[in-house]
């Protein structure tokens, strides 16, 4: 979203490759650092580690598992944060009840799954129920305090408190685990070598199939959203609204309707993510603030209001969290915090954000 609009003077909308080339031209050192980092990570993942290397950094299996867990966790974070960033980008208030929507979606998906026995049907129910809650919030409350972003944010905070307490009332404080369906159970072999046996035979990584499928699904959703934003009429309206919603409204577009649709979509995505989270880990009291924090960190690092930014930020935060938990457990959160501090110090608007 950010790159496609080009500079301030852009009468012509430059193509993506064009923008990338210009960025490399303007920041040769940063581009070199990014390229080196990508090559190092690829080498660490793909090549079998030399023996001396493993003595210093531990076993490769550990590292690869952390990276895979981080990337798939990033997919989950992306699903949560992308709705958050879309709502923020268009409507300019921080939806602090986003974590509650995530938790609500998880519970609804769990109930639907228990009832019908279908994991996939749970996604439909979670999306629809969260979208309805989101629409109601936008229609009954936020519409009435247009332009008062602090007040709107405080209202989302109040709602999140009430929601989480009501959810404790209904579902109790115990953790709920959503069962993985049979067809996604078990490990999938991957072509990545984690170790070499003494006989010279390579050992390949086995990874839970459900996490890989969710990762692919998140990528598909991300690409679908990018296409919807850049190739459809409603996408043009949303992008125009992000830039200047007053102007869009003056031009005769029904901005309020657009707001409700975007809020419903963002809330629905959070609901879907709730099921994914319930399948990956579990859903319980307190997970709402965990995922609110994750969304905040992803959006701060990636760039506020940018969907590619949310994807990048989600991968970074997911990997940082998992690597931190693997290698220095006591200070795992410090790593994500340090990443946030560095980004805020160098680029306050986030990696892919616009000023």
């Amino acid at each position: 979203m950010a790159t496609a609009f080009g500079g301030e003077n852009g009468a012509r909308v430059p193509a993506r490759g064009d923008a990338l080339g210009r960025w490399v031209g303007h920041h040769p050192i940063a581009a070199l650092a990014v390229a080196v980092a990508i090559i190092v990570v690829l080498w660490l993942v793909l090549a079998p580690w030399p023996t001396g290397f493993e003595d210093v950094f531990g076993r490769k299996r550990l590292f690869i598992n952390a990276i895979f867990n981080g990337v798939t966790l990033g997919a989950l974070y992306f699903l949560v944060a992308t709705g958050f960033t879309l709502i923020f980008g268009l409507m300019r208030y921080v939806n602090l009840a986003h974590g509650s929507l995530y938790l609500f979606g998880g519970y609804m998906g769990y109930e639907a799954g228990e009832w019908t026995g279908s994991w996939l049907f749970g996604f439909v129910i979670a999306f629809i129920s969260c979208a309805i809650v989101g629409m109601a919030m936008q229609f009954f409350i936020f519409r009435r305090m247009e332009g008062q972003d602090l007040r709107q944010t405080l209202v989302t905070l109040g709602l999140s408190i009430v929601f989480s307490d009501l959810m404790v009332w209904v579902w109790g404080g115990n953790a709920i685990q959503i069962d993985t369906p049979d067809y996604l159970m078990g490990p999938t072999p991957t072509p990545i070598v984690v170790a070499v046996k003494s006989s010279g035979e390579a050992v390949f990584l086995q990874y839970p199939r459900v996490r890989l499928v969710i990762f692919v699904a998140a990528v598909v959703i991300g690409i679908g959203m990018w296409l919807a934003l850049h190739r459809t009429r409603i996408g043009v309206m949303i992008r125009a609204g992000v830039d200047d919603r007053d102007m869009l409204s003056v031009l005769g577009y029904r901005v309020q309707l657009l707001f409700i649709l975007v809020f419903a979509f963002g809330a629905g995505l959070a609901g879907i993510a709730g099921i994914v989270g319930g399948t990956f880990q579990s859903i319980s009291l307190g997970e709402d603030s965990h995922f609110l924090l994750a969304s905040l960190q992803v959006v701060i690092v990636g760039g506020m209001g940018s969907i590619p930014g949310a994807a990048l930020g989600a991968i970074i935060i997911g990997c940082a969290e998992q690597l931190g938990q693997t290698y220095f457990q006591n200070y795992a959160t410090v790593l994500t915090f340090v990443i946030m501090v560095i980004v805020l110090a160098l680029r306050p608007q986030g990696l892919l954000g616009r000023r």
């Binding site: 300019r92 208030y93 921080v94 602090l96 409350i141 008062q148 972003d149 602090l150 007040r151 944010t153 405080l154 209202v155 905070l157 109040g158 709602l159 408190i161 009430v162 989480s164 307490d165 009501l166 009332w169 603030s289 609110l292 924090l293 905040l296 960190q297 959006v299 701060i300 506020m304 457990q329 006591n330 200070y331 795992a332 959160t333 410090v334 994500t336 915090f337 946030m340 501090v341 805020l344 110090a345 306050p348 608007q349």
Partner: protein, 352 residues
């Protein structure tokens, strides 16, 4: 919500009628009365009421005051103030005494307390430096992320923060021949710092720094153009607010005799914002008004909910709904309601 400060000015007739001293007294009648009540409270109330209710409310008030100072005068609503208080509290436990001999250093209070305050102020200034470069609504996001990061750090970290167990048995020191652990000295200590921070904030709001800060709040670009360093003013405001929060945090640890991730967690940070907003960000007294309402609700809501036939465990919903009602119907909090009521009665009196 408009953060603009509304100053209630007395009508002209009233001013001419009275002498300076009695005018001052009548203008501040409410606060003087409140101070008197708080001073004699231990004589009439039980230990539980004056320490666990009023002492606790005043501590929350001091920390909420730091949020009010940032939000009301600086236009920066920071959710990290409870975290700053928590940093100070944890540092007192680390450098001072606690029940964990392998973590605590058992330094005397006159070393541990200044170190704790210095670390908390540095942390607050760092928070400020990070969020001051962005504006408005971003501040909430960044400070909430910082608060949450600290919460998860305290939860996961055992060498310094002792994980979810936290620290227990952190006694208030014995200093100047008084054991500050006892309810009565502790109450007056809290009262002293509450009054001091209230007066200091009121003073700063009228001092050049406070006026410049309010200018930065209303129009940062114009202040920048006049030659004020906007970022420096914001960071300094964060540092000062951190000082208040640190004092509150240390008193909090001494009162509760323990600190754990739950006492500085996300919920605590959000409760603090609720206190400040419910009280009103327009005037320093709002922080204390919000705190006393919150503590009274917290202490007695459970029993009264049960008494009227509702589930006492739905306390959090009650707090949330009260907060929503205030934000929706009186954005300037209870102080705003009070001012409107005073204005109406005054208007009615002068008309008759």
């Amino acid at each position: 919500m408009t953060l603009a400060q509304i100053t209630a000015s007395p009508s002209l007739g009233e001013v001419q009628r009275s002498s300076t001293l009695s005018r001052w007294a009548s203008q501040h009648a409410a606060i003087l009365l409140l101070g008197l009540v708080l001073l004699i409270l231990p004589a009439v109330a039980s230990d539980f009421i004056f320490v666990q209710v009023f002492g606790w409310a005043m501590i929350l008030g001091i920390i909420a005051l730091s949020l009010m100072f940032l939000g009301g005068y600086g236009g920066m609503v920071s959710l990290a103030q409870m975290t700053v208080a928590g940093v100070a509290g944890y540092m007192v436990a680390v450098f001072g005494a606690s029940s964990l001999p392998y973590v605590s250093l058992f330094w005397p209070w006159w070393v541990a307390v200044p170190i704790a305050i210095a670390i908390a102020v540095a942390f607050g200034a760092l928070t400020g430096a990070l969020s001051a470069r962005t504006e408005g609504i971003y501040t909430i996001m960044i400070t909430l992320a910082i608060a949450a990061a600290f919460f998860y750090l305290t939860l996961q970290n055992w060498p310094i923060f002792n994980g979810f167990a936290g620290f227990t048995t952190i006694p208030a020191p014995i200093a100047f021949g008084i054991n500050w652990k006892h309810p009565l000295p502790l109450y007056y200590l809290i009262l002293f710092f509450a009054a001091l921070s209230y007066v200091v904030v009121l003073y700063i709001s009228r001092a050049p720094f406070g006026l410049a800060l309010q200018g930065v709040r209303d129009n940062p670009r114009r202040m920048e153009a006049i030659g004020y360093n906007v970022t420096a003013h914001r960071v300094a405001a964060y540092a000062f607010a951190a000082l208040l929060a640190a004092i509150g945090g240390i008193l909090m640890v001494w009162l509760n005799n323990q600190i754990s991730p739950g006492s500085t967690g996300i919920d605590a940070s959000i409760d603090l914002l609720i206190i400040a907003v419910v009280g009103g960000l327009g005037h320093p007294i709002g922080a204390f008004v919000g705190a006393i309402i919150y503590v009274i609700l917290r202490t007695f809501a459970l029993d009264s909910l049960v008494a009227i036939g509702l589930d006492g465990r739905r306390f959090q919903t009650l707090i949330g709904l009260c907060f929503l009602a205030i934000v929706l119907f009186s954005p300037d909090g209870v102080i705003g309601l009070w001012r409107r009521w005073v204005a109406r009665t005054r208007g009615g009196r002068s008309a008759s």
